[in-house]
């Protein structure tokens, strides 16, 4: 349990070594660079924005190409492949790919261009389809759509409103154009409320016929197609075919590059890493001949870093004092078990420097409480097996994921433990099956090792409070440790010891009372010396709190008032302790709902023999999955809450900044450090 000590160092070196030093630091991942204030120093930053933008653009291009490859040539991936972690690569093959970066980028560009052309082709096909669609009503026309007549005749192509046949149209036109005999009407097709017609008349009659048509609501076709509809449609079909073969060709072109996937990944990460380097380069001050880096390094590696840089690159490395108002970044270091709980702490807030890192103590309570809330050996076993297999199968999964799965693995172990203590294995499935399908009538088969919470909830409630008080006392203890570490003995006595005495005194006074005996159905008979001892502790503690709590104030009236207010804080302790009743409630919820599911399944399956057993298991599995999921969520949320609110509330206030070293920023690959 520790916050790693940090040392601020400053590096100054000749510019000729800049690249080598930066690359070394990036690979070591040990320094968090502090951005220097350049006012009045005469130093300047190098403008690296352009170079950085270029690298980022290249990385994006490679990413795009990879996404396109995934679209057309999907990789075979298992469901859990997301857990597999980044690909391991050694320096030699990395360098080889980097040498051929131009080729890789050319490939990426080609892939992206092909994709763009494919989407253009698809657009063309869509356009053709639309155009063909609009030609359908005119398919029967065997002159071009732009046909307006011959030397002697005039033609009208268009639609009139309403559905009518040739004779009707003919009659309607005839009615308005008396004296014209030479008229031909052809209905090409009719739609829901219009008729598409072709009308031919002599040129002299043109105007009359036109006005007659207009009165019928005649309109020319909306789109401007010029040729003969059938021919145009054929042309469109031919073009669509052409586009389709073009798409096939382009797709093949992309597929050919499937083998470059690996190289593209490496190149993408290479550019990403360089972009990060240039980002840093833009923040460090330099002169014409030298450059300077200032940053935080874990104290234990400071010497090694200094030695390496001094000997290899002739840099000057100095240890710096922390400046006023500056805080060290926080890096946690914990034992193999507890470090998996660091993300829980981090999501509340990291500890500041000089404060205690509570991860170790928290990790044990976390596991303990989680198990109590889920408290079913079956569900616990599922967690242990699931997380265990994933951890074994994917040894190189991402850090955060590994920590989370390991955490749940141990929570699963604790769940199995509590399941055995309380006699829960998928609720009461073994008993239900034995009774329903095998005619078993004896005692319960699965017996709790400790006791069954459903039959004696009060007893478990008292235990929950006890666990809670232990948890809270640990919290207060950490605060005391902090006081001692800071050398504040007065604070330790008046804020910690006094509270311990006050609370323990109160508890000892409460335990033998009738009130408690009624609630807990437990009788405490202490030896006679305990009662005065309890009173003494409680009163002594109370007096110290009353007098000392407001010690920062010189005004005695105010000081006593603050002390009294602090004593009122004992109600907070009461509600904190009561809050641990969720251990009981959530534990009961898991067990009871599991047995509801089992009972329902047994009701349906009862008396149907083997088929009944199958039905039973179908209902059982679906129900158990739901119950497992919702209770897993509940246990997770409320374990977090107990840590964050009750436990951390006693001593912890976070506020640390995470240590973010200058590192290789990769998305796909990981360097093989042993190689």
């Amino acid at each position: 349990m520790a916050v790693v000590e940090m040392q601020k160092i400053s590096i100054s070196a000749h510019r000729s070594n800049r690249k080598a030093i930066l690359e070394t630091l990036q690979k070591l991942e040990v320094i968090q660079v502090v951005e220097a204030d350049l006012d009045e120093t005469g130093l300047r930053h190098k403008n690296t924005a352009d170079a950085r933008a270029t690298f980022e653009k290249n990385a994006d291009l490679a990413d795009q190409a990879l996404a396109i490859l995934d679209k057309y040539v999907p990789e075979k991936q298992g469901m859990l492949s997301g857990l597999a972690g980044k690909e391991l690569i050694d320096d030699a093959s990395f360098d080889k790919v980097v040498e051929s970066q131009q080729d890789c980028m050319a490939v990426a560009r080609k892939i992206v261009r092909n994709e763009k052309e494919i989407s253009e082709c698809s657009g063309n096909i869509l356009k053709n389809e639309n155009q063909k669609e609009s030609l359908v009503p005119w398919m029967n026309l065997d002159v071009p759509m732009s046909f307006t007549g011959t030397d002697k005749t005039a033609a009208f192509i268009g639609s009139v409103q309403g559905v009518c046949d040739e004779a009707q149209v003919y009659a309607l036109i005839k009615e308005k154009t008396e004296g014209i005999e030479e008229l031909s009407v052809t209905v090409l097709s009719s739609e829901s409320d219009m008729t598409n017609i072709f009308v031919l008349c002599l040129k002299e009659a043109r105007e009359k016929v036109e006005s007659a048509l207009r009165s019928l609501g005649f309109a020319k076709p909306p789109q401007a197609v010029l040729g003969v509809p059938k021919k145009v449609a054929e042309d469109l079909d031919r073009d669509t075919e052409k586009q389709k073969t073009e798409i096939e060709r382009l797709k093949k072109g992309i597929e050919e590059y499937a083998g470059s996937r690996e190289d593209l990944r490496v190149v993408s990460d290479y550019y990403r890493t360089r972009a990060e380097k240039y980002r840093l380069l833009g923040t460090i001050p330099q002169t014409r001949k030298a450059f300077f880096i200032e940053g935080w390094v874990p104290a234990e590696s400071a010497e090694a870093v200094a030695k390496l840089l001094t000997e290899k690159y002739g840099a000057v490395v100095d240890y710096e004092e922390k400046k006023e108002g500056e805080t060290e970044p926080t890096l946690l270091r914990n034992n193999k078990f507890s470090r998996n709980y660091e993300p829980v702490l981090a999501s509340y807030g990291l500890p500041q420097h000089g404060k205690v890192d509570p991860t170790t103590i928290m990790s044990f309570f976390y596991m303990f409480f989680f198990g109590m809330m889920l408290s079913d050996a079956g569900y616990g076993l599922l967690m242990v097996i699931g997380c265990g297999i994933a951890l074994l199968k994917f040894p190189r999964m991402a850090q955060g994921m590994r920590k989370m799965l390991t955490m749940f693995f141990w929570c699963g172990v604790s769940t199995v433990f509590w399941g055995i203590m309380f006699g829960g294995f998928f609720g009461d499935v073994i008993d239900v099956v034995a009774k329903t399908f095998f005619g078993y009538t004896g005692d319960k088969i699965v017996k709790p090792l400790w006791f069954d919470p459903l039959t004696s909830p009060m007893r478990l409630l008292i235990w929950c409070m006890l666990f809670g008080i232990i948890h809270l006392f640990f919290g207060l203890g950490i605060k005391g440790y902090q006081y001692l570490k800071d050398g504040d003995i007065v604070g330790f006595v008046s804020d910690i010891i006094a509270w311990y005495a006050f609370l323990i005194g109160l508890i000892l006074m409460l335990l033998p009372t009738d009130l408690f005996a009624n609630i807990a159905q437990m009788q405490f008979n202490f030896p006679p010396f305990v009662a005065p001892l309890a009173k003494g502790l409680a009163i002594g503690g109370m007096v110290v709190i009353l007098l000392m709590s407001g010690r920062a104030n010189k005004n005695w009236g105010l000081r006593i008032a603050l002390g009294a207010y602090d004593i009122y804080g004992v109600t907070g302790w009461l509600s904190d302790a009561l809050s641990y009743s969720r251990l009981l409630a959530l534990g009961l919820a898991t067990g009871v709902i599991a047995s509801v599911i089992n009972t329902m399944a047994a009701m349906v399956g009862e008396g149907k023999g083997i088929i009944g057993l199958i039905i039973f298991f179908i209902i059982f599995i679906i129900g158990s999955v739901l119950n497992f999921a919702i209770n897993l969520l509940g246990a997770y949320v409320h374990t977090n809450r107990l840590q964050y609110v009750e436990f951390f509330g006693k001593f912890y206030d976070g506020g640390g900044e995470p240590f973010e070293p200058f590192e290789t920023k990769t998305k796909y690959i990981e360097f093989n450090k042993e190689a």
């Binding site: 999501s347 459903l454 909830p457 959530l586 009871v592 709902i593 919702i630 949320v637 409320h638 964050y644």
Partner: protein, 158 residues
Amino acid sequence: MGELGLFFGLLGAAVAVLFAGAGSALGVGIAGRAAAGVVTEDPNKFAQVLILQLLPGTQGIYGLLVGFITLSKIGLLGGNLASINLNTGLMILAACLPIGIVGLISGKSQGECSAASIGIVAKKPDQFGKAMLFPAMVETYAILALLISILAVSNIPV
């Protein structure tokens, strides 16, 4: 009179399941609308907002829990009904009221709180741990009500 007692016992189970379930339905619904909004913008946050949406769902489960304990108490599940007089029936009803009423109200307000927390995740996904905590605060009171309901129902002599 025996049957009236049974009726009130059953009414107790119904009250627990009904109101707590309705509260959860309201809460999950409210949070779900917010969650859907976030997913339209960023489908990657689906898992996170789904968890937040589910948080107000527990009241319904607590109601079911009390309802089930009540049903088995009055012997409706095993097939042999217990003989329950009017007094006991009313006592069972009273015992079921806390989780019913608190479940309804806390379910709804937890849903509103979840919706606000989904807003946190939308803007700052790395603050998920804290976002999850706010709705969990509301749930405390549902848990307290559940506790009293369970203790009361299981300790009423039948």
